[in-house]
């Protein structure tokens, strides 16, 4: 059986912030349908790798975006950040601004916006100022804004890290629903439980280097993990229990 076609590939990718090497010689291929979790301690390079895959950062080495097969067009991306930046405008306008920025025809805005807000359960709050919404609602609105773009790949940067447990569950359920629709997901997370629930593949990073890149079940059974990654997983799970 052939492996799914690649969407983004990195070869010996390195990112520097001034004199700090944030990512060092990473080789990684994102495939269509992947649900990839990037895990690792603080400062390990998760967010940097996520931004690099998205194309928000320049790098040394090679980053290639491959055309979708069989569509023969480049994949489209959207990203959900840990703390969403919402414009000081009504909630629905924030979704429409995203559509406008992506060049979606104006005639489609109303329908796409309504569908996206419906999907995240914010239709009744469409006219409310976005900054007046609670943290969980803001994250759901940001998810609606991203989802309305109908991306092929959705990047999630610790999407539930700043939410309370209830909001965390809501957002996680929405992400799981999007993943079930077939969107390729890449997410950075501290939460190994979340990685286990949502991901099909896990990459573990430490100090800018990739320690492991394994299918989720192999990652969590621990047998194939290098020592440093095993220690990280053990520490995190002990902390979580």
């Amino acid at each position: 059986m052939s492996s799914p076609p690649p969407l983004i590939s990195l070869h010996r990718a390195a990112v520097r912030y001034g004199t700090t090497l944030a990512l060092d010689g990473v080789d990684l291929t994102l495939q269509r349908g992947d649900r990839l979790a990037l895990v690792g301690p603080n400062g390990s390079g998760k967010s940097t790798l996520l931004r690099l895959l998205h194309g928000l950062l320049p790098c040394d080495g090679e980053r290639r975006v491959h055309p979708l097969q069989p569509e023969e067009r480049l994949p489209t991306f959207a990203m959900l950040f840990q703390r969403p930046f919402l414009l000081n405008l009504p909630a629905s306008w924030n979704v429409r601004v995203g559509l406008w920025l992506r060049g979606v025809p104006r005639a489609e805005h109303a329908e796409r916006c309504a569908t996206a807000l419906q999907r995240v359960g914010l239709v009744r709050l469409a006219g409310r100022p976005a900054r007046e919404l609670s943290g969980g609602q803001q994250q759901r609105l940001a998810l609606a804004r991203a989802w309305a773009l109908r991306p092929d790949v959705l990047f999630l940067d610790e999407p539930t890290a700043s939410l309370d447990p209830g909001a965390k569950r809501e957002v996680e359920a929405l992400i799981a629903a999007l993943a079930a629709d077939g969107i390729t997901l890449v997410m950075s997370t501290h939460n190994l439980g979340q990685a286990k629930r949502l991901a099909s593949r896990v990459v573990c990073l430490d100090q800018g280097r990739m320690l492991a890149d394994l299918a989720v079940d192999r990652f969590f059974d621990g047998a194939s993990l290098p020592e440093a990654a095993r220690l990280f997983v053990k520490g995190e799970l002990e902390w979580a229990t």
Partner: protein, 238 residues
């Protein structure tokens, strides 16, 4: 002491009676400074937003220049505009020296660096918070600037009110390019300077009161905008 109290009394009477000359001067001041702020806003906001969101060669030098121009004395602006608009100057053919138009030009030049520097500072704050997210949505520098200006519209009003306060309270530039001609280019600040030198303290004081009142109202508006900007709309409007 009696001169001072008599002057206060006379000034209060002038304000209360609605003295025509006094209110014409006040109206011209508001027109000149208001127009200057509108024109200065066009250039200053565009410059400040560009400096915040675009990256280009010489950008840091331009930021340094704009920040330096914040300290530009109004008399120097008046002198430069005078040289431009005088008969021998490059814009002398326009024939607008010693008219309210020249005063608008001078005050516009005065407020552009202030508006640009404050706008840039305002947008940089939002850019740090949401620049990556807007870029992720596909916004280039131009659209980022436009969206952040909309996002920071209350802060931007504060910037414009600050510029208006600076314009209406200055005396040097309008004195030089306007000439302080009675009934034509005489504004509050130039009248105060003139009447004080002539010894007509009541009119000078009356205008001083009005000027203080205008600046006070502007400051109150700035305070209101700042208060509003730090609150969510629901909090601000109950």
């Amino acid at each position: 002491m009696s001169v001072l109290s008599e002057s206060f009394g006379a000034a209060a009477a002038l304000v209360a009676q609605g003295d025509g000359a006094l209110w014409r001067t006040v109206l011209l001041s508001l027109q000149v400074s208001g127009s200057a702020c509108l024109i200065g806003a066009g250039f200053g906001i565009a410059l400040g937003a560009s400096l915040a969101t675009y990256r280009f060669a010489g950008q840091r030098l331009l930021v340094l220049l704009v920040n330096t121009l914040l300290a530009l004395p109004s008399v120097v602006v008046g002198l430069l505009v005078y040289l431009l608009l005088s008969r021998q100057g490059p814009l002398g053919a326009l024939g607008i020296l010693f008219t309210p138009t020249a005063m608008v030009v001078a005050q516009s030049v005065l407020v552009v660096p202030l508006i640009a520097a404050l706008t840039r500072r305002l947008l940089l704050g939002s850019l740090a918070e949401g620049g990556d997210q807007l870029r992720s949505l596909g916004a280039g520098p131009g659209r980022t600037a436009l969206l952040l200006l909309v996002h920071e519209r209350f802060g931007l009003i504060t910037v414009l009110l600050t510029a208006f306060g600076r314009a209406i309270a200055e005396v040097g530039a309008v004195m030089i390019v306007g000439g302080n001609i009675d009934g034509v280019t005489r504004v509050m600040t130039t009248t105060i300077a003139l009447e004080t030198s002539k010894g007509d303290l009541p009119l000078a004081l009356a205008l001083g009161f009005v000027l203080l009142g205008v600046v006070g109202a502007v400051n109150a508006l700035i305070g209101l905008m700042q208060w509003r900007g730090t609150r969510t709309p629901a909090q601000a409007f109950g």
